[in-house]
Every structure is written in C-alpha cells, then in structure tokens.
Amino acid sequence: MTLPHHLQYHNITEAILGFAEYARSCELNVGIRESHEALEIVSTGLIENKQNFRFALKSLFCSSQENTETFDTIFDLFWGGEKAEIKSKIEYKNQSNIVRKSSGSLVMMNKGSSTVQEEEEGKNVSGANSTEQLRKTDFSKVSDIESEQLNKLAEDLWKQMSKRLRKKFRKSVTRGKLDLRQTIRSNISKGGEMLDLHYKEKKPDKNRLIILLDVSGSMDKYSFFLLRFILSLRSHFKHIDAYIFSTKLIRITEYLEIKNLQSVLEVLSHYADNWSSGTKIGECLSDFNRKFAKRSLTGKNMTIILSDGLDTGEPELLVNELQKVKLRTRRLIWLNPLKGMKGYVPRTRSMVAALPEIDHFMSAHSINSLLELENILYDAN
C-alpha cells in the first residue's frame, strides 16, 4: 500500500482534503467541519510557514494529548519531502509501543505459571456473545489477547457503574430540606411574607470507601484487575482510601490521584518487594488499625477487603483486628476471588474464623461479580 503524500494531489485544496481523510483513517477525530476549517486556515495565509501550518492543523485535528504524537508522524509523512525515512520511524514507534504494553502486564500477571488446562478454559471465550462471556470469565483464566479486550470492557462497565452510583448519591447532597421554623422566624420582620428561604444543612458526605487490596503471591492474577477496578471507582468517588498489603501495609490513596494506570503501576513498582510475597492479613490489619483507622474510619463508611484469605498469620489476631475495624465501620465487605470457583467452601483457618465478622462475603473473580457490588454500595447509603 502506498501512503498518501501531498505531491499526489493537483492543488492545495485537494491535498488538504486528502490529509483530512488520511488523519481520519488514523483514528483522529476529523469530520467535515474540521476539513472545512482546515481549508479556511489556508486562506488566512498560515500555510506560508510550515511550522505555523503544522501547529494550526494540530490544534484543529487533535482532541487530546495522546493524538499529538500520531498527528506529528502523519504530518511529516504527508507534507514531508522524503517518504522512506519517515516510514521507518513509524514502524519503530509501533514496535516500541507493543513492547511497553506487554511488559507492563507481565509485571503484574505472572503468565509463566499458567498451565495448559487453564489456557484452554480461557479460549472458550469467543463467538457471537463474546462480550457476555467475557464478563463472566475468571480473571485468572484470561489469555493475553483477551486481556486487552477485557480491560476495555471492564473500563467501560465500571465507568458506567461509578457514574450511576454517583448520580444516586448526588440527590442527597444537593440541598437540604426547607427549614420551616427558621424561615418563618426570619421573615417575621418582613410582615410574615416568605421572602428568604432557609434550608437545613447539607448532609455530610457519607460515601467514604476504604479498600484494602491483597497483593500477595496467591492473588497475583487478580490484583492487577482489582487495582484497575479501584482506579475506576476512584475517578468517580471523591473519598476513597486505598491500601495494599501482603506482609506489610502501604497506603496508596495518593497514587490513585494519578489517573493513568501505567504511571500508578510505575509508582507502585517501587514497592515491588511487597508485591507477590506471602500474606499476613492479621498483622497488616493491626497496622491499619494503629496508623490509619482513627483518621479514615468514621463509623459511617464501608470497608472492603479484597483478599483470598490464604493467610500465614494467626487467625486469632485476624479476628481481633477485624472486630476493631467493624466497630468503626458501617459495613464490612470481604471480596474473595476464590469464591467464584465451583464448589468453593472457605476452609482455611483464617477465612473460617473471619466469616462471622463479615457483613457481606462475595466473589470478585469476574467483571460481573464486581458489578454486583453496586447494589451493596448503593444500599449502604
């Protein structure tokens, strides 16, 4: 396939339209209106200087920072003098992209350990209702190819969920009820005519969510997805407090502010020694109670623990600390990815001991199971 180039066109108008079409084919958001305005740019004389012309078209054809790189490449390609040199640049760029992505996911999901049988189970996901299937697929059984699809789907669904939840919460935050007593009182001076309306105070924000994510070795295949889930919740809830733990506890709330997953992972990779090691839930919870609970638990919030409950510490300690957390929280939810497995019964000593303290014990192995959380989050408000 030959790449389009401005010398192929007879006049500047055709060339501009050709470039617009080319940009469109490269997934830039360019419509008829943009093409039209690009022609207008030519009439201003901006085209005299190539640099100005580039900047002008860039501001018109790009709609986010991510677009600018693509734009620069195709601009050089289309309006440049020599074709071959620039073409190799593109190939190089694509390559580097792919490498970065796969290494990013490799860090988190130890693909090496997956067995043949697991892979086969994962491959069953295809066909007409693949989306529906994908929603039910266990995170640990997702192949590399599907993980891309799954990420996208998950992002969309979680976004929708956060949006719905936020809308529901909004009602209670807009304005308090009319304070009749205060209204009458302050309007006596105006002859009893209701001119100034007084409202009761706004309800305080209640949707504070505390999330504790287990990132130990046994959770390896899930923690990446669950972190994504937390991240998407973060973009819509104002008050989320998040921690990761394995043998020690780390507060990651600050890092969630950086909305880009890649950069969050980069920051978290500083703590790589903590990631994928053994689990001491009890000790970590006690750490949480000692350092953070006073500040973040208000008695009205919800606490979510995301862990498989495969603990190496003492069950008594765990129960003890769970009770402390429960005293200061409205609901305690334990999401266990293993619960999604057929015939799973909590057998480990810690999990059995912890069960009586938990309000909701749910699975967290697929997109659908995480979406079920919505109802609980809503009820609690």
Binding site: N29, G31, R33, E37, E40, I41, T44, G45, L46, E48, N49, Q51, N52, F55, A56, K58, S59, L60, C62, S63, S64, Q65, N67, T68, K163, R170, V173, T174, E193, M194, L195, D196, L197, S235, K238, E254, E257, K259, E266, V267
Partner: protein
C-alpha cells in the same frame, strides 16, 4: 507570519512568554471564532493565557470557576425570587390581569445574570470567557455548555433563546482529572500546555522578576527542571518556580546551595512526602543536574 509575530510580541509586553505554537493557536482561535481547550499540568500558566489575552484585546474577562455540582443557577442565570415575591406583593391590589402579572415578574429585570449569560449578552465588545477547570464540573454541565459553544446562544424557558451580539472568545482549561466528552472536544481547538524548556523558563523568570541576578536565575531554573524529571507526586509548575524565585530574592540569596534548598523547599514542593524524599536525596545532584 506578521500577525502571529505581532501577537507574540504583544503578549510578551504584557508579561507572558508565548511560544510559536501557542501564538499560532491563539491567532487561529480568534480567526475561526472557535473555543480553545487548554490542557496541561497544574501551574503551567493555562489560566494566565486568558488573562493576558483579555488584556491584549482590551476587553472584559469573565471567569467561571468550575466545581463539582456547578449547575445552571450558578453558571447561567437565576430568577431573583425575593424581587419577584416583593413585586407580587406590591401589585396585589392592582387591576392587572393574572397573565400580565406573570409576564411582568418573568421579565429581564428579574433575572440575575451569572457568568455565561453575562458573556453572551455583552453589549460593546466580545469578552473573553474563561471556563476554568472544566474537568471538575459534572458531565451534565458539559451538556449545557455545548449549546452555548456551538451556537453562541442560551435558552431560558420563560424568556426564549438569547443570542449573542458579540460571540465571546471562549477559553476552557482542564487539568485532566476527568476525561472530557468527545462532543465537547470536537467543538474546540486543542492545545496541550507543556512544562517550559529551560530557556523559556529562564525567560519567564526574567520577565516576571526583572531584578533577579542572572546566576541565581540560571541555577534555580536548573534545579526546578531537575526536580520535574524526578517522578514526584506533584511536580513544581511555573508558578512554583516564580514563588521560589521570589522567596530567594526576599531572603537576599545570591547563590543556591544544598542548605538553601533545604530551607526553602516548601515554596517549591507542596506535598510532605515529596519534601521528605528530596531532603534525603543527594542535593548536590539536583543542583548540578547529574541524574
């Protein structure tokens, strides 16, 4: 191009150092009469662009600061309830019919103009309308904005549609805490404001603090540039650079060394973790730029 050069020069005399790209985009915005969406890290001078542009065009700057829960009443218009109620009371015994009374109290005298309506109804000259931190407002609010941005008009149910006589020059800024809708993006020109390179930053420091010593200015720009490459929680923006320069000036320093950095780090970094981290690092590295 001459126009762009003169625009650049004019902004320069007003104290804003604009690069070629920004000047081109601003020129284009004025020419195409399209809104401009500025994105970039906090503290790189997005809001300032609107300020100097208004000054350059010698027109009014109308600013709408967005926040979560911003609604029509605080951004476009609100009926003046008190005045309406009083008016009803006064006219209680008049002969006017119900319909007349109603028409009366939903007239233009009873409307409180908020920034967007004010921008649309400007009588003499097109104002610069700055919609600051649009990413903080809700998605619903974006939808309100769309009508205004694309058709330069606002609909008020009781009054009808108000069309702008002088369409405002709209600048939107966003810190990217939330992804904006495609519909909004498509109606705007887009420009990403990056951290300035050392030369540009040096120019800005000289421009804003004309009395600063050359050596000090060079050193401090170097330090700030080094800090930005350090993957901090919150990298220092240009406003922080200027703050720091001012505090160093106020302290009468002529040179930056490790102890000076330690003592004044608070005006540069705004998070405790960052400050602690940098303090424990080898400060001479940050000074010389050996990373």
């Amino acid at each position: 191009m001459k126009e762009i050069e003169s625009l650049k020069h004019s902004l320069d005399t007003l104290g804003y150092v604009a690069d070629e790209e920004l000047a081109t985009v601003l020129f284009l915005m004025l020419h195409l009469k399209k809104p401009l969406l500025l994105e970039g890290h906090p503290g790189v001078g997005k809001t300032e662009i609107a300020n100097v542009l208004a000054e350059h065009l010698q027109t009014e700057l109308i600013r709408l600061q967005c926040y979560e829960g911003l609604d029509v009443h605080s951004s476009i218009y609100e009926w003046n309830y008190q005045k309406q109620l009083l008016s009803i009371k006064i006219r209680e015994n008049s002969d006017a019919s119900e319909a007349e009374k109603e028409k009366m109290i939903f007239g233009k005298d009873y409307i409180l103009e908020r920034p967007l309506l004010r921008a649309i109804t400007a009588k003499e000259k097109a104002p610069v309308l700055l919609i600051d931190e649009i990413d903080r407002a809700d998605e619903e609010f974006e939808a309100f904005l769309l009508e205004m941005l694309s058709a330069n008009q606002i609909s008020i149910p009781e009054l009808g549609t108000i069309k702008a006589i002088h369409p405002p020059i709209v600048i939107l800024t966003s810190n990217r805490t939330r992804e904006l809708s495609d519909a909004l993006r498509r109606r705007c020109l887009y420009h990403w404001v990056n951290y300035p390179d050392p030369e540009k930053e040096l120019k800005i420091v000289r421009k804003r603090l004309p009395g600063i010593e050359e050596k000090l200015a060079r050193q401090l720009v170097q330090v700030v540039q080094n800090l930005r490459s350090r993957n901090l929680n919150k990298a220092p923006g240009i406003s922080e650079t200027l703050d720091w320069a001012m505090s160093l000036n106020a302290l009468g320093k002529h040179e930056i060394d490790a102890s000076v950095i330690r003592a004044t780090l608070g005006s540069l970094l705004k998070s405790n973790e960052d400050i602690e981290r940098i303090k424990h690092e080898n400060l001479s590295e940050i000074l010389t730029g050996n990373l």
